[in-house]
Symmetry: C2
Subunit: 374 residues, 2 copies
Amino acid sequence: MKTKVCEMLQIELPIFAFSHCRDVVAEVTRAGGMGVLGISGYSPEQLEQELHWIDEHTDGKPYGVDILIPNKYEASAKRSNGRPTLPEENQRFLRKLCDDAGIPPLPAGEGDRMFDEFLERLHMTPEAAEELFEVVLRHPNVKLLVNALGTPPKHKVDELHAKGIKVGSLVGRLDHVAAQIEAGVDVLVAQGCEAGGHTGTITSMVLWPQVVDAAGDIPVLAAGGIGRGRQMAAALALGADGIWCGSIWLGTDKSDLTPEMKQRLFNAKSEEAVQSRALTGKPCRMLKSKLSDAFEQPGAPKPLQMPLQTISTFEARTRIERARASDYMSYPVGQIVGDMNGETTVKEIVYGLLNEFLDATERLHQLVHAEDHA
Amino acid sequence: MKTKVCEMLQIELPIFAFSHCRDVVAEVTRAGGMGVLGISGYSPEQLEQELHWIDEHTDGKPYGVDILIPNKYEASAKRSNGRPTLPEENQRFLRKLCDDAGIPPLPAGEGDRMFDEFLERLHMTPEAAEELFEVVLRHPNVKLLVNALGTPPKHKVDELHAKGIKVGSLVGRLDHVAAQIEAGVDVLVAQGCEAGGHTGTITSMVLWPQVVDAAGDIPVLAAGGIGRGRQMAAALALGADGIWCGSIWLGTDKSDLTPEMKQRLFNAKSEEAVQSRALTGKPCRMLKSKLSDAFEQPGAPKPLQMPLQTISTFEARTRIERARASDYMSYPVGQIVGDMNGETTVKEIVYGLLNEFLDATERLHQLVHAEDHA
């Protein structure tokens, strides 16, 4: 079942697993797909450890990394300026939200230390991304680098190509395709608005074939709304060359979510995965929570631009996590959360995808050829 | 290529065409699919004429009708109360919008007459629907009645069954399925949020398999985001028994849209098909216009509840139409509008759907069996 992207990346199955957990990345890679580690948020030292661990657990198989470099970046948030200035209205709003819910403040002194550490890890400037790139280039089994927001600069693509690394890019609307082709990307990830994380407004059913047709020879991975084999069959029927899944791994035994958050995902319906600017400032699909709801109320402050919103909500999010106030916790997840009802293993998911894909393909074939056999 | 729903309704192709144009309904029906006429908005006399015309142009083949009866209905809008009271703020806002755009008012006296005629045609109460049902029952080739909003009452389903008419219902979320099964419907139309018209928030990719699994033996038609054969293949791969298309017929030579509106659809991108309450008061996906934009502005009045919003905007919509102020015209259409680039015929669409469906199915089969032949 090899597609063009399988040949390009020398993998067995056209299944790509985006995850922040190295265990998920390694397990999907070992199963013949390609794990892709989300590396934003790591320090260079932590990233070195993670990639080293993955190298040791994937028998020399190729894997990928995903980095988030926003096109539009609030200059005031650059680390070199030290602590960014945050609007007092937003900070007061978030503090009141926690206070009213009885969520304790952070211990005196500790809040400042945690905040500084957090800022240190927030690698979202081109300079910070450069440090992560250097770590990545030391790991020759990394064969795919995906940029999650915007178009990578041509010189960066050339540099990666020279090292034997293919470059992928996420696109959420047809208009974005031409610039990516121009920049020389090797793989497009067409992500429908049902996906978890930062998304646009066009659904997978409409977006995927549009991107496939515009991409010409460039293989397209289908993202958004895929958690089972029938959806994989739909993606390939629509012309995609492979699938890109993120949310589905959150409910596995290898996921590093807390048991409370996993349980909330298992209880959630699809309509509870809402698009909100509450976490990052950009529309991001996430599990609805009292925190995301608060930003929808009349009189709530407007979420700040990326990455200021992430910085602005750090204190409240940390208070919520420490208090295990699970009703207030949001986590990026797609609409397939409605189909996640209990813990599974990564292997069960991979083999489930394949089996249901084969069944669906066979069923379609039978439907068309039923009269031949009648 | 017959599916269960084809057997149930004695049709050749699992392609359902929702349209307000009798010509589209007749042509799809003649081609072996099933045309479904949207009958809300007709007077009983007009409906009699339309169904008579369809009967005469479909060689005795079965066809369907679709009626819109909201579950939640503003009692103040009932015709028996005469003219409903509309909030002055909304009327002033709409009048100013037109005045500022230089769109002339309706000629003195004529506005009132047109408004009364419009109210007369607004068959959205159970009483008004009853008059339409009576007309429908006089046309024995009507074999499917679909209710677009909410659950039909059990006694109505029984009455229709007794006359040999199958009953269908639109669902936009998994939660809606159980009540429909309870009410005894024969067919579910699972409509993703990319569809034109009234929709929910769940996309087709996620919704269809959820509804299919919950529906058990009841066949599910896939709606929302289908304009080409690859999408039809995806729908059937996801477990649907057939497809339900609406938007795609708007760009055909049989569509009764004005040439200006057709051109606007051909020029539009998918992201211009927005969800708005501007036309009916319920979230309805439509071509973005200066009218729908106006309701998104800060300080705009809140759209009224159905059907008061339709009534409230009547005067402005009529002024806009008479002035052919096409920038201000919205029309319900789904995200596939981005793929509609020029006028086609109904036949081209039906055969295009089938051909691309067969190609996609064959491609999937080859992909799985490539190694068998290697």
